[in-house]
């Protein structure tokens, strides 16, 4: 299983969400995607997208302006 890293620190709406989606499209089933970012709204909306896409949310860590989210496809 591969691990894909996405760095969207400094990016604002809607880029973190879009980059998450692109990474999920690249990933194989079972791969883990780790996203690091600083946009507060994205920390809330990426888990919403994970639910909508029926993926597995492994972790949401850090502060609203400095977070790490881990997803399994």
């Amino acid at each position: 299983m591969a691990e894909i890293h996405v760095d969207v620190r400094g990016e604002t709406c809607p880029v973190p969400l879009v980059e998450m989606r692109k990474a999920v499209r690249r990933a194989q089933p079972g791969d883990v995607i780790e996203i690091v970012g600083t946009h507060p709204a994205s920390q809330k909306e990426i888990p919403m997208a994970v639910e909508a896409l029926a993926l597995e949310l492994l972790a949401v860590e850090g502060e609203p302006d400095n977070w790490v989210i881990r997803i399994r496809r």
């Binding site: 604002t12 809607p14 969400l17 879009v18 998450m20 989606r21 997208a49």
Partner: protein, 139 residues
């Protein structure tokens, strides 16, 4: 079938095009399909070199307001319209150009960014997508 968002992009104003593309890309990112139906002044933005030419819908002030807004957006690191449009296409979004607008405004296919356009259509094309959509907007 996946959930769908369908947006009529009738305005060519910069801020409204941002709204349309951000909602479109948000929808794609959350697993929906998206159709953008470009008509009237919105279609002007699909002309070659036309994407960034829209005025601000309010406080444009002969371009001063737009300069200020662009400066603020650069400071906030907001993505360009070109990047949003590239992301839209990469995530599988569909663009429909209104044929009646092309006819009445004298817009030819070769004056448009044809590589972005999936379909040339009339109101039937919009209704076909809109009636299967969970979200429809007119911007």
């Amino acid at each position: 079938m996946a959930d769908r968002t369908t947006i009529v992009v009738a305005s060519g104003d910069m801020d409204k095009l941002y709204s349309a593309l951000i909602i479109a890309n948000g929808s794609l990112s959350m697993g929906m399909e998206v159709s953008l139906y470009f008509t009237f002044w919105g279609l002007e933005r699909l002309k070659k070199g036309g994407l960034e030419k829209g005025a601000l819908s309010k406080m444009h002030m002969l371009g001063l307001g737009k300069l200020f807004m662009n400066w603020r957006m650069r400071k906030a690191n907001v993505a360009s319209l070109q990047r949003l449009l590239n992301d839209f296409k990469e995530l599988g979004g569909k663009i429909i150009a209104c044929e009646m607008t092309m006819e009445i405004m004298g817009v030819t296919r070769d004056s448009l960014q044809e590589d972005l356009i999936d379909e040339y259509g009339a109101v039937g094309a919009y209704i076909h997508d809109a009636r299967q959509s969970n979200i429809t907007l007119f911007i």
